[in-house]
């Protein structure tokens, strides 16, 4: 059994379809597809060939699952376990789609989210499958109305979101157009100004410096006027495309997947948690001595000025600290008392 599985794996690693043995090297259009029933990789032509006439067994030896052609899809994530989890998550979330608003307290909502995670975990790892499926079926039945309603809401929100994104894109496009126009105009102005300078230099009798100076001033005026216009126009864009309603919608936070919410909640909780000691309570905080900056010490005075020591990171404070440490290392341990047990 495992030998077969190993050979399948080898094939896939070499970009060869384990069923028809087509090599991707020779057939560059070949794509691998997977089916959420069993996640076995099969090339697209095999899928076509085997499943077009109706649902049948998976061609992998030992896999008894019945597969349908329309369920096949391309693998999105490199890691198959992530792919599995995402698929499961998507299907569960369609059923368990309550939002924070549906709960009275934060704890209840968190418990709900926990339950979702538990369900996903169970299905993913084949734990208590029967009970979990029953639970899902029950929940579906009991909450069928609210599921439906919530799904509609979510869809609506999603549509609004898409609409707003579209509008944002339009605004950006317009903005780009305007800015390109601005640049062109500015360049043009410059060209004209230069031409005028040349003209004036050749034809008029004014001082050269004055000519240049005047031209420069004019150009500056022109460019600032244009830029002002550009800014005003961009401001108007927003008003032009988005209604008040849309603006309100934009400020409304995107519900997103339940997992994301949970992350933010955990963030809040972390700050309310108990204080954290990086030393685990195991540290001598109050040393019984103080290290002065300088001591008279003929034994180390020459050593510490040596470049070899300094380059290696040795500093006189450490030497002092270590010696002082040894001086108090057990000073208060009265062996006579402590060892008489």
């Amino acid at each position: 059994m495992t030998e077969v599985a190993d050979s399948y794996l080898e094939d896939i690693n070499n970009d060869v379809c384990p069923i028809c043995k087509t090599d991707k090297y020779l057939n560059s259009n070949m794509k691998f597809l997977i089916n959420p029933e069993c996640y076995h990789k099969i090339c697209d032509s095999c899928v076509d060939r085997i499943f077009s006439s109706g649902p049948t067994k998976c061609p992998y030896q030992g896999c008894e699952k019945i597969l349908r052609k329309n369920k096949f899809k391309s693998q999105i994530f490199e890691d198959i376990s992530i792919e599995k989890e995402i698929d499961i998550r998507n299907s569960i979330v369609k059923i368990f789609n309550k939002t924070e608003k549906d709960f009275k307290t934060l704890e209840e909502f968190n418990a709900y989210l926990e339950k979702i995670e538990e369900i996903i975990y169970n299905i993913l790892n084949g734990v208590q499958v029967k009970e979990t499926n029953e639970y899902i079926a029950n929940y579906k039945q009991e909450n069928s109305k609210s599921i439906h309603q919530n799904n509609i809401n979510i869809q609506r929100q999603h549509d609004i979101f898409l609409k707003i994104e579209n509008k944002k894109k339009l605004i950006n496009d317009e903005k780009q157009k305007l800015s390109k126009q601005l640049i062109r105009e500015l360049q043009n102005d410059k060209k004209i100004a230069n031409q005028q300078i040349t003209n004036n230099l050749l034809n008029s009798s004014l001082d050269t410096n004055l000519i240049v100076e005047n031209a420069r001033k004019n150009l500056l005026k022109q460019s600032s006027a244009r830029r002002k216009k550009y800014i005003e126009q961009t401001k108007l864009l927003q008003e032009k495309f988005m209604s008040q309603e849309d603006l309100e919608m934009m400020n409304y936070s995107n519900p997103g997947l339940p997992g994301f919410r949970k992350h933010r909640l955990m963030q809040q909780q972390a700050t309310m948690m108990s204080p954290f000691s990086p030393f685990n309570g195991d540290r001598s905080v109050n040393l019984p001595f103080e290290v002065e900056e300088e001591y008279f010490d003929p034994y180390t005075s020459n050593v510490i000025k040596d470049a070899q020591y300094l380059a290696g990171g040795i500093r006189v404070e450490q030497i002092y600290k270590k010696s002082l440490f040894e001086a108090f290392f057990g000073l208060d341990c009265i062996i006579k008392e402590e060892k008489s047990a």
Binding site: R283, N286, F289, S323, A327, L331, C333, I335, K336
Partner: protein, 427 residues
């Protein structure tokens, strides 16, 4: 304590977090395995001595049984002079001395290696008897292992050359595992030298930097016997002089049981106390009592505390720390507030008194320990030359009873001269 309780305590101690520098010391193997009370040391030595005697007798018996010359164990037994517990101690002390001289004068090893070798030798004989392994042999291995352990490696060949013809590289290596086992594989020793160096610094810190106007000491007037308080300045030369002298005493502390009964900082301070009592007492007083107070207005020459003389008198002059300044401020407050303030003041004073009391107690305890340490250092006795010779011979025969019997055989052959020689041998 039952074994289970012992084990549990051992486990707890391992997990106990370290909150002070002293706690850190309590985790060291020197504290855990090689620190004893005097009674515990005596118990150990008695046990070791009995073990040694038994071993020597067994050896003799085995030899007698194997020997063709028909030496009966019962008769030979009286010939064998066993080494007593006191003699063992003298013998060990003698060889500690030999080891110290060898390592400092002949091999010129650093103090850390010297001290570790001595520690190994002393610890070895808390586990084995001199009748089991001759100290002459063991000390070579101790040197070898100490040099290895302290990153000062000496090849057995080199070492053997220094130690004379009887020591061979093989004999050094032979005993290595026995030694390491006897030490329970603990090889990290803490010695007073580094602590001494630390006190060289802290003395400067407290006596010079903290109190640039000098410190108050109590001196006894030689003629009148009266105790006088005066303020003196202690300069770095005095501290340095003390340090150098104390270091010599640190070498002495390696002999005897000092290292088993006291911790390195205590030994270091005891050495300082021995060479310059006035300075050391001043240091201790200021460090552990006076400087612990929050209000350090001492510079103005106000009345200060006096240190304790622990054995002679109970004349404990309580400090008269004054809180005058604060009281004047209260005049403007109302009666009630004044009352409350007074109560709070009283509580604070009480707390301070309690704290002070604790500091004084600590100081007293420290002085007591240090004096006890000095006594221990002073009481170390090595054997006289004659004693050494006698004991050494005994040891030799206990380890090699066959040689004793061979000698006896020789004497028997010599006939009449036998008695005379016997007297000479046992003299």
């Amino acid at each position: 304590m039952t074994k289970k309780e012992q084990q549990k305590e051992k486990g707890d101690k391992e997990k106990k977090p370290v909150t002070t520098v002293d706690d850190l010391y309590r985790h060291s193997t020197q504290y855990r395995l090689w620190s004893f009370t005097e009674n515990q040391l005596k118990e150990r030595r008695t046990k070791v001595n009995v073990q040694g005697k038994r071993r020597a007798l067994k050896k003799l018996k085995v030899f007698c049984e194997r020997d063709d010359n028909d030496h009966k164990f019962e008769t030979s037994r009286d010939l064998l002079q066993l080494v007593s517990e006191d003699e063992e101690l003298l013998e060990v002390n003698y060889y500690v001395d030999v080891l110290q001289k060898l390592s400092s004068q002949v091999l010129k090893l650093p103090s850390q290696v010297r001290a570790t070798a001595v520690a190994f030798l002393k610890r070895f004989y808390l586990v084995h008897s001199v009748m089991e392994h001759h100290p002459k042999k063991v000390l070579a291995t101790c040197l070898f292992l100490a040099a290895k352990s302290e990153n000062c490696f000496m090849a057995p060949k080199t070492l053997a050359e220094y130690l004379g013809s009887k020591t061979t590289p093989e004999s050094i290596l032979e005993l290595e595992f026995t030694l390491v086992q006897a030490l329970s594989f603990t090889m990290l020793c803490h010695h007073p030298y580094r602590a001494l160096h630390g006190f060289l610094f802290d003395f400067q810190g407290i006596l010079i930097h903290r109190h640039p106007n000098g410190v108050v000491v109590t001196r006894k007037d030689e003629s009148t016997g009266e105790k006088k308080k005066l303020r003196i300045k202690i300069n770095k030369d005095r501290i340095m002089k003390g340090y150098v002298a104390a270091r010599e005493w640190a070498d002495v502390s390696l002999k005897g049981d000092t290292a088993f009964l006291f911790t390195p900082p205590q030994i270091a301070l005891a050495c300082f106390l021995k060479v310059d009592e006035e300075m050391t007492v001043a240091y201790l007083t200021y460090k552990f009592v006076k400087d612990q107070h929050k209000d350090r207005q001492e510079e103005g020459g106000k009345e200060e505390e006096e240190e304790e003389e622990e054995e002679d008198s109970d004349d404990e002059d309580n400090p008269e720390t004054k809180f005058d300044n604060d009281e004047e401020k209260d005049e403007n407050k109302t009666e009630e507030e004044k009352q409350k303030a007074k109560e709070v003041e009283k509580e604070k004073e009480l707390e301070k008194e309690l704290e002070k009391e604790q500091h004084i107690q600590f100081y007293k305890k420290m002085i007591k320990t240090l004096r006890s340490c000095i006594r221990t250092m002073d009481s170390v006795r090595g054997p006289t030359l004659d004693e050494a010779k006698t004991i050494d011979k005994k040891v030799h025969y206990c380890i090699n009873p066959d040689k004793l019997l061979k000698r006896k055989r020789q004497e028997g052959a010599d006939g009449g001269q036998h008695d005379a020689k016997k007297i000479k041998l046992e003299g």
